[in-house]
Symmetry: D3
């Protein structure tokens, strides 16, 4: 396990030494205005990323053989410059993957992925619609798809932006959908849950998460909605007796799940299940983004009377942590 995380450095006394493992997200040689050359690095771990500078390039304690994508062990101290935190690094060597858990270097779910996966399969197992069950079982039996599904983040940065975030988001949604479905008799439960499981599956192609989270070129040009629809269609077409109407409905669930044309859905929800999916997907993403902000406020030492920073996923609104505010009032 890592000893020190980037999030910890925020509260670090300036000048105090740290020593830890990081992923190199960017590396660039630069010169100060006094013509002093230095290395500028972006180092990341699962808690965030930070700029670091190496001033003594010739120092033998500074490795020369590392590059973007490598894991390094770096020693230094944090300093603040114009309100921006920065690391001054005095020792740095390339590390190998056995020294550190990769999960510590990229933000990743705090849940047990195997357990999440079992719960996913459990939901599928509960289906009464044999066609939908077969579709999902077939798709997730493909080890490439299953492997990527277990690893993928749910987004580049908005919500569940960590390894395993897609799966975590889907499990949360399945639980919620399973509570909402019986409340409205017009809802076809298995179709709704199928929509939940497939709605973001295109993200396994849209995003790459080797070194940070990036869009692939194909992802930029086609988008996860098209990529997911295509994967679903290909799998369905491989099943000899899949009912054509059900195919249309499954594809419509994926196509329409953003709920608005301007959010990139080419079709608006036109069946009750698609409408319900677009609502709970949006709610879950926002609730999770709020949770992250509340955690961040506590980590950064903000008081209970202070609202969060502006939340991107909520149109730059600032939120108040109800429970914490009430408790601080002695209630």
């Amino acid at each position: 396990m890592k000893d020190i995380y980037i999030a910890d450095l925020a509260n670090f006394e300036e000048g105090k030494l740290f020593n830890g493992f990081f992923l190199v997200l960017a590396k660039q040689q630069r010169t100060t205005k006094n013509n002093k050359p230095y290395l500028n690095l972006i180092l990341g771990d699962k808690t965030g990323q930070l700029e670091g500078r190496v001033w003594e390039l010739g120092d033998p304690r500074i490795a020369k053989d590392f590059d973007r994508g490598d894991i390094v062990k770096a020693r230094g101290s944090a300093s603040r410059f114009d309100d921006r935190l920065q690391m001054k690094i005095d020792q740095l060597r390339k590390a190998n993957t056995s020294e550190v858990d990769k999960a510590d270097l990229m933000p990743s779910t705090t849940y047990d992925v195997d357990d999440l996966w079992r719960r996913l399969l459990g939901f599928i197992d509960s289906f009464t619609d044999a066609d939908l069950k077969l579709l999902l079982t077939t798709m997730l039996a493909d080890p490439t798809v299953a492997g990527a599904y277990r690893e993928a983040p749910a987004a580049k940065q908005l919500h569940h932006a960590w390894l395993g975030g897609l799966l975590e988001h889907v499990i949360s949604l399945l639980t919620l959908a399973d509570r909402v479905a019986p409340h409205y008799p017009i809802l076809h439960r298995d179709l709704l849950l199928t929509g939940v499981i497939l709605h973001d599956i295109g993200k396994v192609y849209e995003l790459s998460w080797e070194i940070g989270f990036e869009y692939t070129v194909e992802g930029s040009l086609l988008g996860h909605i098209q990529m997911g629809t295509a994967l679903a269609e290909k799998t369905i077409d491989s099943l000899p007796n899949f009912p054509p109407k059900l195919k249309t409905l499954v594809l419509h669930m994926i196509l329409s799940h953003h709920g608005k044309l301007e959010f990139g859905s080419p079709k608006l929800p036109m069946i009750p299940e698609a409408l319900a999916l677009s609502f709970i997907d949006d709610l879950d993403a926002k609730m999770q983004a709020i949770q992250v902000e509340f955690d961040k406020c506590i980590r950064e030492g903000k008081g209970p009377d202070e609202m969060t920073g502006k939340v991107w996923a909520l149109d730059q609104r600032q939120l108040l942590n109800t429970k914490r505010w009430l408790e601080a009032g002695g209630k």
Copy 2:
């Protein structure tokens, strides 16, 4: 019970006689282009409203002493003119309220109101927050408020637009909120449920439902958001020890429940409970509007392959009844 309803007339053979009780929503004397005078009426019952004409004004079987707001018994036949249905009335007399159940004359909930009310009180009884429980108990102990809450429609025409619709909508929301709350630990369940119970309470002042559903002048100028907030504030201020922070949160729930400024909320949701309320309120209203459209399609004899008419509450979108479509396909 009424023998014949306006909705039934849609499928009536033209010329066939009907005979039933209706509420007079409008009454006007007019003349044809051939100078023949006639009476033009708008008659309503719980299933809708229809234009009716009385051609033989001097006929002794046609009463002269009735007016807007009266209940009448009318006999006649339906005819269609340019795709618009119309009643030709040949007998009409004023009825008294003992002859017909008022619930048959105005659209009203199909649920048992006493039962809905018991469930509402049951939810309040389940609160662990004593202040919120006291607030709601106090407010609903006022017989004027309670009486109006049991009767009010939830909207003039968009969703739950019938007597008891407000209560029905709130019970649906409470059930849903009670399922959603435990899913997100940051949610204060009792505050969320309080928001559900109070969010539309201003409608008991915004709308009148004596003869059809109309906005009061005060309702037009102030709106149910302000009226509900004021009622909540007045009740809270009558409770000696209600925590000021909790007051702010309760009022914020009401103020922000439309979720968008352009929908008339003066504040956007800034606490997780308000965000969740705005989502489930919107979802429940839309699901109910869809249910009404699906029922209407079946009543009007549309086939399973036909989409609904354009749904106002869903931006004029047309919807497909998933289950019915699949079943028609032999699935």
Copy 3:
């Protein structure tokens, strides 16, 4: 050939007899307010559609065995009621398909479809990119696809809304694209032309044009963008060596061709060819809609100083026929 067209009736002297073949688009029995039953029909041919009424239901000259979708021969006279034209029909019999050219009953292109098709193949033949040429050749070699492509309208009502309209629109666009492409060296001509040929191909599934132009249920739920993308992807996947990058680009051309998210494209144009396609597609549709309006003005006898009616495809704007206006001024 038909003797009389619906468009001709607009200028018909009222009461004068016509006698012609029409397609029955709708049929309904109704009753006047005086309880007189009559048949209400919507009759169509290639120039438009018109309401017709049969008053003498018992008349032996009025057939009883016809239905929606049938071709009939009808005799009657036109009349105008409240500015709306209507046919009064006194003779009507079912016709058989040999009596009339089906192309006369549905609006259809005025171009020779075989010639348009030859020009389409000619453009494909001119490609220097072998992969794209193979893709298009393969796709259009499928007789079902080719048959539908030759028949499909380009839209339900906005532009090129007639049989063969899709092909006519594509040929116009190919000609235009072929002139634009050499003007911008960054454009990949064959990719641009491929985009032109495929951009609306999903309409062969989205629309049905048996009796009038309607959306299929599948078309409503999935849309021609998804349907066309899926067809292209399936064909590409059947070609063993199609370059993956080229596949991404072809699919992106189809996905993005509406140019705006709010017009139903899930992706905005991100390559120069897609941008150019979205521009010329929009321009061609609008120019064609203007041409139709100008023709209509002349047919309806409007003067050169009068602007057109409000053009739907141009946001309800009214246009002026430049050349005609100038000529009327003696210039």
Copy 4:
């Protein structure tokens, strides 16, 4: 009176010494990238705010016992770094409130507040409507309300963002309203003037202005529109015979004064007085913001041909000072 103001420093020769009183708006200890610790302060006075740095922390001339919210006397020199002005402070001591006029430390109205207040009471005195006169007299007789009304800024930063700004804005509006009202006979003058006096009264609760101008938590969650409406309603309800219709109209004036839903008014103006109020309120705020920009241009030495910077309150537009531009042209 202060000798030197922050606005003066903008034109200060770099390096020249200043010595003056300031309010400490923020205080933070930091370290340079060379590990040198320093104090970072935000100092303010009525003309603005500026960053200041204390480099010699151990210097006995630098006090240790001051904090955010304190008044200090500081000596130093200004410097410019990357276009940003900064103070280097070499002496600093805590001052007491008797040494400096608090009005010099926070931006505040240049008008005499007592005089503004007298004019406000004079307008109320001129009312012919006894109910409205009683309402306002009662409300402003409350010393807490009156005290806050005299001090409050009109906004956090958009317009009249200074102590006494609310009162100054209201007096300007009253004068304007009194000129506009007789121009339109449909306007109820006293109702319009009542709306002017009450429209922003909620700001006395929405904002805090102890140390800089901030939103209170309650202000963020409820907003000044709700807070002002509630205060008005409570005062009205304390008056035994206030006409209910007049109450509705007064509350509507406050609720609708932003003129658009998207600006946070839950109701659009539906009476002529509310419409007129929303217009003159908006005009006055914009004219005042323009005046501030014109003054700033002159203070910063901009020429008459130069337009202002982008004005936030005018959608980032730049404006030209008409009179100054014309005069510069010799006219």
Copy 5:
């Protein structure tokens, strides 16, 4: 003076005879569905317009020699058909212009135009800026311009849509501007008043008001903003010493007076005078539209508790007549 006006017919007992002068706005021969030919007319006078029908074409009391644009004397009775009022005409003859005051046939200002004109000249006379005074004097000395200015309506239908409406609107605005200008010292009074006088002067070319109010083709293609700017520029260019800066400012006043790009102003107000003009122009138009609606409610017999119909100029909002509502409450 006319005996009977179209507005009076709204409250006419059906069948009662009227006899009056009207302007023929449209004339068309039609046939009923029973093949009975009739004349369909649109007749207008200063209070509105109404459809009229002549059933007895051969009747010698019905003139044959009249056409669109003629004045006629018509006798008949009003009837209501499907809520739409209609005139049945049994006598009709062409009238000559001496029989009726043309001002009775087109809606026109209720003010004395000569008096309005004197007030306009009075305002110009009060200018201290000699250049602006010369500009306006020169422009209004042109008898064509002055004649059209006195007659033109201010709009086709939104506000002041009557003969003399432009002048009436301008005088109202001048009075208002003269009250607002001294309130803001940054305003150049004469420039503001010049803007008021010229802002809509292009309407004398944009609209024709010979027979009803219509856009000219040139007006449709260029618009009154461009036409007014061009007229101002041409006049200025004819004045040898007009200051160039002042010319820019005057043109900017006209160009920007709609206040928003989407309302057809190619430039947003960038000087205080232009901003003020756009506000008072909008306010005056809306106040006048409200006045018209209030008058209409009284004329149509609506009660004081009823809101107006949906007002086009106020985004389809409904308004309440404050004073009338309060008075009805005994206040």
Copy 6:
């Protein structure tokens, strides 16, 4: 010719000396936080602009007599500070205009202006409409207009933002328009080409390009649409027999060419030529902006898999260079 360009410095090794001619776009004296005074300059040439600093103010090798707008020869080295490039200058002297080609100091077209001009005249020569030919010949015979037309940039920064950019953009558009016009028979070719030539002619007054590209005050207040329309109108009015209808059409072409009200066109295109002009103008501007971005990517060493930066003219979209991406894939 210049030896070194600002664009070259981007890839310069830090510390390496350069020595070249630049235009001084801004000059300011400042002080570091250590009270060291220095000169801050913005230097530009045809490839861009860069901040430069002179640290040794007393050094005799640094001239004292230069100012904004002067050409200087400067020697120094580039350094990077916080990702921003900066020049450190150690020698600087005023240069005279004979030492350097002014075209090297401002970005300017890479085409031969004389040749572009000949092509412009060639297009005019090809007109069959004598009136339009005379209009353009007359206007371009004015040496002031012609001189400015040859020099003006097409925009301040969006597209063709370089000397000669307007002419280059117009020639590109003429070529394109000449290909599009024959494709649509309703288009009046000479009117379309006239629109192309005149649409942006107002930019010769709206922009100044002496030292960088700026809006003139007149340009800011009136805009190039008004300025171009006025120039066209004045020229037309000087031609005795120019047909009035043609004048309306020409002015409409200029007024409506932005295609949308919110882009500053006071009229939407209402003739086919205006619609076509707005499309090809927009397309050409965007294609050119893409070309510039693609060139920049290659210059900055981006790989073929990398998308461009966010393109302002394309709503901040990132684009992919199709041809380069395909080629990199071996295709």
